[in-house]
């Protein structure tokens, strides 16, 4: 079968030692299994490590603060036997905050991973492309102009994100999608959206405008249980849909022609992935405002940990949660005397990464 094999056997030496074809195919199959197991072990280790970090940050979030609760107090509340004061602090203030961080962080991390992998460009993140901005604009508009609240705001956010993504798709489409085109169109749309948002704010009443501004920075400080229920439910649906969709991700990392020749309708699959990403970003934005840069940075960190060449969806979601939880801890406790919204801290982490990404892309002369 192999020309060099045939040549070697022609010399007459070592012919008996040469394995039969069936044996060597068996050996290669074992090697393939080992390659896969190595990848799996590493993925499992990353997921486990990130979960431990999530758990630790969540516990720290529940414990730290002026109320001076101990682990025992918190545990007592969680099993339903806490003191009224501890009960109030944990169930009204801190636990909703932790859960909001988990929902928003995972939705943003996963949404960013879907966008970046599908469009094959690390800059193609929903916050850079104006998709998050579209969700914010529609949410703020529905609050200020229509006086909506609750699930209606979430729906408005989804519609806004979808409109921006749809416009981007229509403007960037040229018989196929290229990542860099999508990015440029998206950046243009992002500035239009932020201009409209500014106009809305200046026209609003001062009190409403300041509420909207606080929301726009991205915060998880005052989340109610009913909001958590709505977004948690939506998140579970979207996570399930993404899990069902995910076997297609490895093919989408190839070119459209390659994906098609392997039996995947590449255009439809890319549209589906972007739609899932849009919905995830809308869930996060409706709940917590546009928390800056989480969608941009979570997936690259996850991919670097797991090894490149993977979409690293689950790991991106967990890394997103870690980022939001830790950033929120910093936002609450690092600045003596006053707490800042979590979006300020993630912005401080994300902006330098964005600059580095652009500088590196320029040096390589590639689109990422």
């Amino acid at each position: 079968m192999r020309p060099d094999g045939a040549l070697a056997s022609g010399t007459g030496t070592g012919r008996l030692a040469e394995p039969t074809r069936a044996e060597s195919v068996g050996a290669v199959a074992i090697l393939i299994g080992q390659v896969r197991d190595r990848r799996r072990r590493r993925t499992a280790a990353v997921l486990l490590g990130a979960s431990v970090l999530v758990f630790a940050a969540a516990i720290a979030s529940l414990l730290l603060g002026a109320a001076g609760l101990t682990v025992a107090d918190v545990f007592a509340v969680l099993v339903g036997q806490g003191s009224p004061k501890a009960e109030f602090v944990v169930m009204r203030l801190r636990l909703p905050r932790v859960l909001a961080a988990v929902i928003a962080g995972s939705a943003l991390g996963l949404g960013g991973a879907l966008f970046q992998s599908t469009l094959r460009n690390p800059l193609a993140s929903p916050d850079i492309l104006g998709v998050t901005g579209g969700a914010s604009l529609a949410a703020v508009g529905s609050m200020l102009l229509l006086g909506l609240e609750g699930p209606a705001v979430a729906l408005a956010a989804f519609t806004g994100a979808l409109v921006v993504a749809g416009l981007m798709w229509a403007l960037a489409w040229r018989g196929g999608l290229t990542g860099i085109r999508f990015v440029l169109v998206g950046i243009g749309l992002a500035s239009i959206v932020s201009g409209l948002l500014g106009w809305l704010i200046t026209r609003a009443e001062v009190r409403e405008a300041s509420e909207a501004l606080v929301w726009m920075v991205g915060g998880i400080a005052s989340t109610g249980w009913s909001e958590l229920g709505t977004s948690g439910g939506a998140l579970v649906v979207l996570l399930t849909a993404t899990a069902v969709f995910s076997p297609r991700m490895p093919l989408l990392a190839l070119s459209d022609d390659s994906a098609r020749s392997l039996g995947l309708d590449a255009t439809r699959a890319r549209a589906t992935a972007v739609l899932l990403g849009v919905a995830l970003v809308a869930v996060a934005t409706a709940l917590a405002g546009p928390i800056a840069f989480v969608a941009l940075v979570a997936a690259p960190i996850a991919r670097a940990l797991i090894g490149h060449g993977q979409a690293a969806l689950a790991a991106s979601a967990l890394v997103g949660v870690v980022i939001v939880l830790v950033a929120d801890l910093v936002a609450q406790h690092a600045f003596a005397g006053f707490a800042v919204p979590v979006g300020i801290v993630t912005g401080l982490i994300g902006a330098p990464y964005l600059l580095w990404l652009i500088a590196r892309g320029n040096r390589k002369g590639s689109d990422g």
């Binding site: 290669v28 199959a29 392997l262 039996g263 490149h308 060449g309």
Partner: protein
């Protein structure tokens, strides 16, 4: 492992183009089953476009391509991919993907909706890695490989589809002479061992004439000549299609036609 049943792949009054510009113009073509077909032609003659049309990568402006009598557009995407494998020109590999992982993607058309791996998959991937001489690269990143190794890995991925028909767009471009031969030998192995029908666009006329059972010469979106290389590759055909003055003699090694091109200089000066 032999093929399930004979296949017929044919183009019927096929017109292909981009944005209204016609590239392939009302072309009729029958691909011989179980043989190696090579498509040659000058630049911009529509070779790659024709291959993309046969591969269902572009929609015909008019006419159709049929597989076993059915319009290829009526097949489900996976169903078609189980029958016809395609290697596009210069495919891009994602950063960091490993050889075994990339080749395993060739099994996708055979997987269920949830992407579950069957017990056969590892064995088939191992077989094609073995056959393409890339087994020892299984754990390496595709992006680290040399051009020749990388092209063999892509061929392995296409072969892992276990399709009876394999279409390749310039599989030998950017390879040096020895790697070109190695690759064409590999495809011949697949043709002889599994009865795979191979259709490839090639640039190099003499290699095309040597390795093909059936040669299709394209010129300006139409077929200038088609048939056995010995019948098709004449000084007249090459002159007409390529605008190239030449002498056609016999390849002293393979016995196939050998095109010796003639330029303005070095004519009969010895």
């Amino acid at each position: 492992m032999t093929r399930s049943a004979p296949h017929s792949l044919r183009a019927e009054s096929l017109t292909l183009g981009y944005d209204g510009r016609v590239v392939i113009d009302g072309l009729d073509l029958e691909i011989p089953d179980g043989r190696i077909t090579s498509i040659v032609g000058p630049n911009a003659s529509g070779k790659s476009t024709l291959l993309r049309g046969l591969a269902r990568l572009i929609r015909p402006e008019s006419g159709r391509v049929t597989l076993d009598g059915r319009d290829i557009r009526s097949y489900g995407a996976r169903d078609f991919a189980r029958r016809v494998a395609v290697l596009p020109q210069q495919p891009v590999s994602p950063d960091g993907v490993l050889v075994a992982e990339l080749v395993a993607r060739g099994r996708h058309p055979h997987r269920g909706w949830f992407g579950g791996r069957s017990s056969d998959d590892d064995r088939i991937v191992a077989e094609v890695l073995e056959a393409t001489g890339t087994a020892e690269l299984a754990g390496r990143a595709v992006s680290e490989l040399s051009g020749g190794q990388r092209q063999r890995v892509w061929i392995a991925m296409a072969l892992a589809q276990r399709a009876d028909i394999v279409l390749l767009d310039e599989p030998t471009s950017f390879l040096d002479a020895s790697h070109q031969l190695e690759l064409l030998d590999l495809l011949t192995d697949s043709n002889r061992d599994h009865g795979t029908t191979v259709v490839m666009v090639l640039h190099e006329l003499n290699l095309a004439a040597r390795y093909a059972d059936h040669l299709v010469v394209l010129d300006g979106g139409r077929i200038a000549a088609a048939g056995a290389p010995g019948d098709v590759m004449t000084a007249e055909t090459v002159g007409g299609a390529f605008g190239l003055e030449c002498v056609v003699t016999t390849d002293p090694v393979a016995g196939s036609p050998l095109v010796v091109p003639i330029g303005r200089f070095h004519r009969g000066e010895f």
